[in-house]
């Protein structure tokens, strides 16, 4: 569980990773999760190589199965992360959704 300070510190880094395009290097679908992600089961985690050359992990959201494959294009979006208790600070962060660059009418 992230403390308020940890959430705040992580935000400083995540801020710089928004609206970035990337390519899926690998994906897996989680079927057994730790408590704070249980309500989101099943969910897909991808390893992304961003256009900047950096790599990061994130949940893939708003997708259909054919979007979820090695080599597919994604873009980072801003979402709520895991569940927190009713009195805890909410954690926001980066997830990814499928993205077709310029040519598509998406």
């Amino acid at each position: 569980m992230q403390s308020a300070v940890q959430v705040w510190r992580k935000q400083q880094i995540d801020k710089t990773r928004l609206s970035q395009e990337g390519v899926i290097l690998s994906w897996t679908e989680i079927a057994v999760a730790p408590p704070r992600f249980e309500s989101q089961l099943p969910y897909t985690i991808i390893l992304v190589e961003l256009a900047t050359g950096n790599r990061m992990y994130g949940q893939l959201v708003d997708f259909v199965e054919k979007d979820r494959e090695i080599g597919a294009h994604v873009i980072s979006v801003f979402r709520r992360m895991g569940d927190v208790g009713a009195t805890d600070v909410i954690e926001y962060g980066i997830k990814f959704k499928p993205y077709k660059s310029s040519k598509s009418s998406r």
Partner: protein
């Protein structure tokens, strides 16, 4: 000249049909669709809330504004579904947007007119020269008690408005706000869902306040309904906005593209402004837009805008974007709304 310099919106991908909800409660779907004049509404996903949507709308609004980001001197957010009772979302959104730290921020609630009230205040700060630019967001992941009539219309959406004096695309010519203490719809601080007073939400509430604000504004601006090309009203369902438009002398053509509620539902504080977003996709230079929001409790903000030649460069595609949708079941709706 003070007005809107840029704007953005966010509608989540998911839709639930009115019929899906009606069938869940064994009601006649046809009758409900006809009485509300609605087909479906937009629903934010489980990991989305008013903040994530306000953020995404702001990203669109600021996409072409990299030079003025750090010049934004005020950040206001209006909503009735803030995830915190105490902790500003306006500063969170500003932080994620990387707007620096030299700005005035506050969160505001006034049912469905939280955003427009903030828009008026922001325009005054800009007009006085106190700030050069202001960012105002309206965002809601509106919820309703299961089985209540509000369940059919409470939807999700957000929009963001950048105000300034340079490169104005939509000039604010004037405004009038009419307020009273009228308990038509409310939510107590520890309550999960809003409550409402049934038919009392009609003529003494929605209609009274919009009529008063609109009439006062038209008098101030010395215009009649015939003088404007577009009319945008708050949309709690599909019947009220058409009725109030008619009462004020506007035609269905004038309401035009703003009438998004049958497809998107009522995104509460973002609702009337979403009608404005839809209108801006088509509005032409020098056209006048008459606008009136309504917030329960109660009040109405009426505004008159004039489209400038700069809208062309900043116009956002709306219809095509909202056509990209996925239907969900009632069970998924319950999950996405964090009810189960």
């Amino acid at each position: 000249m003070v007005g809107i310099v840029d704007y953005g919106f966010y509608i989540p991908k998911y839709r639930i049909k009115i019929a899906e909800i009606a069938n869940q409660w064994e009601k006649c779907a046809d009758k409900i669709e006809r009485s509300l004049r609605m087909e479906e509404k937009a629903v934010a996903g489980r990991d989305e809330d008013m903040m994530t949507m306000a953020y995404e709308a702001s990203v669109m609004a600021l996409k072409s504004q990299s030079k003025i980001r750090k010049e934004i001197g005020a950040v206001f957010i209006g909503s009735e579904t803030f995830p915190y009772a105490v902790k500003p979302i306006s500063t969170s959104v500003a932080e994620w947007l990387d707007l620096g730290h030299d700005y005035l921020a506050y969160d505001t609630q006034f049912a469905c007119k939280a955003g427009t009230g903030a828009l008026i205040s922001a325009s005054a700060l800009v007009a006085s020269g106190d700030v050069s630019h202001a960012l105002v967001c309206a965002s809601d992941k509106a919820n309703a008690k299961p089985k209540d009539t509000l369940e059919y219309s409470a939807g999700s959406g957000a929009n963001a408005w950048l105000l300034g004096t340079d490169n104005v695309i939509l000039e604010l010519l004037g405004w009038h706000s009419y307020s009273s203490d009228t308990p038509d719809f409310w939510r107590r601080s520890k309550a999960e869902y809003p409550s409402h007073a049934g038919r009392f939400t009609g003529s003494p509430a929605y209609f009274k306040h919009i009529m008063e604000a609109a009439t006062a504004l038209m008098k101030k601006q010395q215009i009649t309904a015939l003088d404007v090309q577009h009319a945008v009203f708050h949309m709690p369902n599909g019947t009220f906005p058409l009725k109030v438009a008619h009462k004020l002398g506007f035609t269905r053509e004038q309401v035009g593209h703003s009438y998004v509620v049958p497809q998107l539902g009522n995104s509460y504080s973002a609702s009337a402004l979403m009608g404005l977003v839809a209108t801006l996709e088509y509005a032409k230079k020098d056209e006048l837009i008459f606008f009136a929001s309504y917030g329960s409790g109660a009040g109405s903000d009426a505004m008159l805008f004039r489209v400038t030649d700069k809208l062309e460069e900043r116009r956002k595609s709306f219809e095509k974007v909202i056509a990209d949708k996925v239907y969900i079941t009632y069970g998924e709706y319950m999950k996405y709304m964090n009810i189960i």
